[in-house]
Every structure is written in structure tokens, then in C-alpha cells.
């Protein structure tokens, strides 16, 4: 999956969860840069990501997660495994 597609889908998810249509994602952006993106919203975002990209984000990966760019990396790797196994 191309990063461009991942960013587009992820933007939709994050806008929906945070209920803010103006959010534009950048690779360096992290939760603390965005008002309302607390640990509970993070959980909701991850659940939507897991469901829409059909991947599972592990506890350790989530603990280490800092930036939007890292989340996109996780999705890219996760979906690549997915397409290999198909």
C-alpha cells in the first residue's frame, strides 16, 4: 500500500475520531500536538486502524509509538504482510 493512500485513509479515521475536519497529518506530528488526542482517543484510532487495514497493533508497538510517521510505518508493514499471505 502506498504511503499516500495510507495517509488519506488515516486522515479520515483521525478526523472522524477527533471530530475535527481541519486536521492535516504530517509524519512528524504526534498526539500531543493535536488538541483532544488523548490516550483514550488513541485507543479508538488504533481500533479503527486495526479494523480498516485488517492489521493488529501489538502492545509493545503501541507503547513505543510516538509520531504519525511511525504509525504509517506500522500500517505499511502490516498491510504488506497481509498481501504476501494472500
Amino acid at each position: 500500500m502506498e504511503d499516500r493512500e495510507i495517509y488519506a485513509a488515516l486522515t479520515e479515521i483521525i478526523r472522524d475520531v477527533l471530530m475535527r475536519d481541519e486536521i492535516v497529518l504530517t509524519p512528524k506530528m504526534s498526539a500531543k500536538d493535536v488538541e483532544g488526542w488523548d490516550s483514550f482517543k488513541m485507543i479508538e484510532i488504533i481500533m479503527m486502524v486495526e479494523s480498516q487495514f485488517s492489521i493488529k497493533v501489538g502492545s509493545r508497538q503501541l507503547d513505543r509509538l510516538e509520531t504519525v510517521g511511525e504509525l504509517v510505518d506500522l500500517i505499511r508493514v502490516g498491510t504488506a504482510k497481509h498481501s504476501q499471505s494472500v
Partner: protein, 631 residues
């Protein structure tokens, strides 16, 4: 793009964001806004959409908005539950309920119950929901304890739970909900887990089954997540890593269903559950179109899985009727052919006599559903319409948004489960009247037939040999009286709702008199059909705090006979004057002029309601064909 909602019986949502934006941008009055919010809520929303709708509708959930019924829900839980509020609120919007939610500080539920200055006491809940997570509730047990030690630990766990229920009930006199304990702990012994006295996994199972009995005794209503968990699987409800991260035992993705389970049991206590199942015929209770194939050609029973599926569905529907759901038929068919299928197909489980209102014609279904509701004297919002045709469902949803229209699965084998999962007929208890409701409606049909054979009303009424049998509120009648108080919407002067506990308190209160009224006639016993509560205001006045009557017995002079009884009872207590009040609601216009008609004089009348008075010395007993007896 988004996740499939667990609320699969609701129609799928399209353009949710745009619709939500439209809802937010509208400067409509509360009534319109409320119905828009309710329309949005009646769709298959995922948890993110549920959060968004809850947020957008918060202004409607204010106590001062004159729409919907306010529910003050306190969640007393040992784990995190904030993420469940939106699901509960939106499920409330679906049912005309405004949920104001209070959540105790994390893990502080016992302290909040005990401390009279706590936020919980200030909040004054009308519903308390207890949710204990598996680890918390079993924390005193471990596999090293011997049998006797385990027994004492388990006893103290049970008494702690019962203490919580009792405490909440005594302090707030409110509905108590108890969520089942999720079976999230792994076994340590294996398949013989139940043999290990100190097993926490086994304790969860035994507590859950104990709770079903204890809840009946304690008058507690269960939010039985575990029953749904059997279908959906543990992983739908619970995620181990989420528990570790956020102490959320219920996953956010499950919150729309969790909220619906909570709201439906609250609505059931308020008498807001649906009352009547309206069935289409072709491809709903049998396969094929009887008009095309004839009675012999329909697919029902023997020989095919499809035929067996329809038989099973009919058996399920009949069981619903046996426990009090009224059945009706609304079908586009020639009436004679439809009736012939009921009369002569050997595999039909449902008989014509099970159907309280049978409409088969070529009118549109919205018109026919209106006719069915008025024929049965129940509101359109009491109907659930089951039809395999997406066209008919959509038409009814558009024309009659108050009618519940589940998305029937394409597979008929799943119809029954779909109705069960939808929870439209959720009931918290069953009364004797529920069991015989079917018979009551059949008797009513007979009365209507008799009525047709009489040209004048008077000779018809006198032929009925009616008896109105009254007594003061009794323990035996308690659950039916509370049910009537909470369910009756049309013939209800003040629409004051009381819980069973409040009704019980009235029995011993010298300042009040409560009368339960039963009507019998030559066709049978109609059961308790009327309730009157009088309040002695001073030595001379009695205020009619509540007067309500089941619409089953409308047009039979019961109201006149009831007034005769009230006057007689007031007079023998030295009362000189009756005060009657009328408070208008969306549904009780039929009794707007009742007091005037019965000879009361009007005292005052403003937008909140009207007051009437009747001087007992001036009253002459109203003529009726009903004999009034104490019994």
C-alpha cells in the same frame, strides 16, 4: 469504509457525516431536532459515529429540553466506563430517553454509596448500573485456598454485591441494573476448572448464575452482556491488551451494543418496549407468494430447510405471543387466500385466532399499520413491523418513523435471532396479564362481533353483564398496577409514573388511597384495567393524583362507574370535594375533557394543564350498565 456495527437489525447508514453536519447546522426547535437525532440514532452506527452523534446531540439531552424522558443514570463500576456513555446516550435517543450520566471516581463505588456527601448522592440517580470487572470481583480468591476458606470468601463477595444493590435501592428508590461479569480470566485447571474451589475463572461462572436468582429476589435488572457474548465471542467485547492499557473491560467497538442493552432494560421498566409484532406473510412467515402458488404451493415445513426455517420462525413468534406480545398481520394479499392458508395448511403453527388484527388487502402498508394500531388501541410506536421486502420496510420507515422496522436477514433461518437480538420486546418481568393477553384480545374480537349484531349501544352494553371489581392496592396486584402506571399513555390524566416500591409505599400511607380496578363480563375477565390514586389534601379535599385506564375497555362506561366508586370512597372518608387535574402529553388528548364530561367544573387552565373540582354534595351517581363490587 467503517466497521460493521453490531446493531445489525438497524438500517445501514449512508453519508453519515453529511447528515450529522446537516443536523448540527439546523436551528430547528427542540421537537424537530429531537426527531432528527432519533432518526440518525436509528441507524447502524459504529462507535466513532456513535460518539459523534452523542456529542452533536448533547444540547438535546439537557434536563430542561421539553422532549424525551430524563433518566439520571449513575454508573458504579470498578473499571473505566467513560467510553460507554455515548453508546448509552444514543441508544436513549432511539427510545425517547435523555440519559444524564454520572460516573463514580475510578474504583470508588462503595465509598460513593456510603458517603452521603458524595457526588453520587448529589446526583440523585433514577437508575444505578453496577459493573464489576472480573479481576476486581474475584480478587480475594486464589487457587491456594482450601474449600472452607473459599466458601467464606465467596459468601462475602455475594453479600457485598447484595449490599450494593440494597444500599442503592434504599437510598435512591431507583431501578438497579447489574452487568454480568465477563468471563475473561483463563482457567488454571482446564476443563475440570469447576473442581478447583479457589478458581477465579470458575467463580465468575458461578457468580453469574447465582446473580440471576439473586437479582430476582433483589428486584434487580440484568444487563446480560454474557448472553450476547455467546454469539459474538469474547473478542468482540474484550481485548486483553486494552484492559492492560486503559482498564477498559468493554471494548469501545462494542459500546453501541452495550448502550442498547442498557437502554432497552431501562425502557422496559418504563413500559416503553414494543407491544405488538406485525407480520407480513409471503416470504416472512412462509416461503413463496400464496396468491401465485395457492395454499399448497407455499414453502412451509417438511421437505426443505427453507420450509423448516419458516416453521421454526412461526414457533418463535407463537412463543412471543404466549408471553404477551400481541400479533398482527399486514399483508398485500387477497384476504380470502391469506385466511385460507391459516385455516388449511397443515404445517401452519400460527392460527387465525393468534392474530389480534388481521389486515390483508392492497392498500399501502403505512395506511394498514395505522389501521392496525387504531384497531388495537395502541400507539404506532408500540409496533414492530417484520417484512422481508426492503421496499416495504423503507416505505414504512419513511411514512411512519415511530414504527420499529428491523432489517430482516435475507436468510429466513435467522429471522427469530434477529428479532431476539433487536431487543424491541425486552421485558423485565412477566405478569399474569401478559400470559393471557392473547386470550384477552380474542375475547375483545368476540365482543366486537357481538357489538355488530346490536343496533344500539345500550342494549349491547347491558348484554355484556359487566362487573367492576375494586380493591385497595394489594400485594397480588402490585406488579400489574405498576405496569399499568408506567405503560398507560392514552387514558391517563396526569401520567405520573411510579415504581413498584413507590406503589408499595402508598399502600401503608394514610394520606393516600390507591384503588385497583378489574373488569369482568360474560366473555371473561379483563384483568386489572384501571388505577386510581387519591391524595387527601386537607380534611375536605381529595386530589386525584393518578387516574388511568387500559384502552382495551374504552367505550364501556368504565370511567363513569369508576367516578361513582371514587365519590363513594371519598364520601365515606368525610371528603367534601374532589380535585381533578389534567396534564397534556403527546398521547393523552383523549382524556382532555374527561372531567368536564363527567360533571366537574373547571378551576384553572394554562399550558401546563387544567384543574377541575367536583362538589360531592352536588353529585348524582352516573348511570351505567356496570355493577360495582368490592372483591
Amino acid at each position: 469504509m467503517s466497521m460493521v456495527s453490531p446493531l445489525y437489525w438497524l438500517p445501514k447508514t449512508e453519508n453519515f457525516r453529511a447528515k450529522l453536519k446537516f443536523f448540527q447546522d439546523q436551528k430547528s426547535d427542540d421537537h424537530v431536532a429531537w426527531s432528527n437525532a432519533s432518526t440518525l440514532a436509528n441507524q447502524q452506527l459504529d462507535f466513532v459515529q456513535t460518539n459523534a452523534l452523542s456529542n452533536a446531540a448533547l444540547h438535546l439531552l439537557d434536563e430542561n429540553v421539553p422532549w424525551g424522558t430524563t433518566i439520571r443514570l449513575a454508573i458504579l463500576s470498578s473499571s473505566t466506563t467513560t467510553h460507554l456513555h455515548a453508546g448509552i446516550r444514543v441508544a436513549g435517543l432511539r427510545r425517547g430517553l435523555k440519559f444524564m450520566i454520572y460516573e463514580c471516581d475510578y474504583g470508588q463505588y462503595l465509598q460513593e454509596l456510603m458517603d452521603f456527601s458524595s457526588g453520587l448522592h448529589k446526583f440523585k440517580p433514577t437508575v444505578v448500573l453496577f459493573g464489576f470487572d472480573a479481576r476486581h470481583v474475584t480478587s480475594d480468591l486464589n487457587a491456594g485456598l482450601d474449600g472452607a476458606q473459599c466458601e467464606s470468601v465467596i459468601d462475602s463477595i455475594k453479600s457485598r454485591i447484595e449490599f450494593c444493590w440494597r444500599q442503592a435501592s434504599e437510598l435512591f428508590g431507583c431501578q438497579i441494573l447489574q452487568q454480568s461479569i465477563l468471563p475473561v480470566l483463563p482457567t488454571v485447571l482446564g476443563q475440570a476448572e469447576h473442581r478447583l474451589a479457589g478458581s477465579r475463572a470458575a467463580l465468575i461462572e458461578s457468580l453469574n448464575s447465582w446473580m440471576k436468582h439473586a437479582a430476582v429476589v433483589g428486584d434487580v435488572d440484568l444487563v446480560d452482556v454474557n448472553r450476547h457474548l455467546l454469539h459474538d465471542g469474547l473478542s468482540f467485547w474484550y481485548d486483553q491488551s486494552l484492559w492492560l492499557r486503559a482498564k477498559q473491560e468493554i471494548k469501545p467497538t462494542a459500546s453501541p451494543l452495550y448502550g442498547d442493552l442498557v437502554a432497552r432494560v431501562v425502557a422496559a421498566r418504563l413500559g416503553r418496549s414494543s407491544k405488538c409484532l406485525v407480520l407480513d406473510l409471503d416470504n416472512t412467515i412462509w416461503g413463496g407468494a400464496v396468491g401465485d402458488t395457492g395454499v399448497d404451493g407455499i414453502c412451509l415445513g417438511q421437505g426443505s430447510a427453507e420450509g423448516e426455517a419458516f416453521v421454526e420462525f412461526q414457533e418463535y413468534v407463537l412463543d412471543l405471543a404466549r408471553r404477551g406480545v400481541i400479533l398482527a398481520v399486514c399483508s398485500k394479499n387477497n384476504e380470502n387466500i391469506a385466511l385460507e392458508a391459516f385455516a388449511s395448511h397443515p404445517e401452519m403453527i400460527l392460527k387465525r385466532s393468534h392474530i389480534a388484527s388481521f389486515v390483508a388487502n392492497w392498500d399501502d402498508k403505512a395506511t394498514n399499520l395505522r389501521a392496525i394500531a387504531s384497531n388495537l388501541n395502541i400507539g404506532l410506536d408500540s409496533l414492530v413491523f417484520a417484512d422481508d421486502s426492503p421496499f416495504e420496510r423503507e416505505l414504512v420507515r419513511r411514512e411512519l418513523p415511530m414504527v420499529a422496522v428491523p432489517e430482516m436477514p435475507i436468510e429466513p433461518a435467522l429471522y427469530a435471532q434477529c428479532l431476539a437480538d433487536s431487543g424491541y420486546f425486552e421485558s423485565v418481568r412477566i405478569t399474569d396479564e401478559d400470559r393471557v393477553r392473547n386470550v384477552l384480545y380474542q375475547e375483545n374480537a368476540q365482543r366486537q362481533t357481538l357489538q355488530k349484531s346490536f343496533t344500539d349501544m345500550a342494549s349491547y352494553l347491558s348484554s355484556l353483564e359487566m362487573k367492576l371489581i375494586w380493591k385497595p392496592f394489594s400485594a397480588a396486584g402490585l406488579s400489574r398496577v405498576a405496569q399499568l402506571i408506567n405503560k398507560t399513555n392514552q387514558f391517563n390524566l396526569c401520567t405520573r409514573r411510579y415504581t413498584e416500591a413507590q406503589v408499595m409505599a402508598l399502600m401503608d400511607d394514610p394520606g393516600h388511597i390507591g384503588l385497583e380496578l378489574r373488569l369482568t363480563d360474560r366473555f371473561g375477565d379483563n384483568g386489572i384495567i384501571g388505577v386510581v390514586i387519591g391524595r387527601f389534601d386537607n380534611s375536605c379535599d381529595m386530589v386525584l393524583d393518578s387516574w388511568l385506564m387500559s384502552c382495551r375497555v374504552l367505550g364501556r362506561q368504565v370511567e363513569a362507574a369508576t367516578l361513582n366508586l371514587i365519590v363513594e370512597q371519598a364520601e365515606c372518608r368525610g371528603i367534601k370535594r374532589l380535585i381533578g387535574e389534567y396534564y397534556p402529553t403527546a398521547k393523552n388528548a383523549m382524556v382532555r375533557d374527561l372531567y368536564k364530561t363527567l360533571g366537574f367544573s373547571e378551576k384553572s387552565w394554562d399550558e401546563s394543564g387544567a384543574k377541575y373540582a367536583l362538589e360531592i354534595s352536588q353529585f348524582k351517581a352516573l348511570p351505567t350498565f356496570i355493577e360495582v363490587l368490592e372483591g
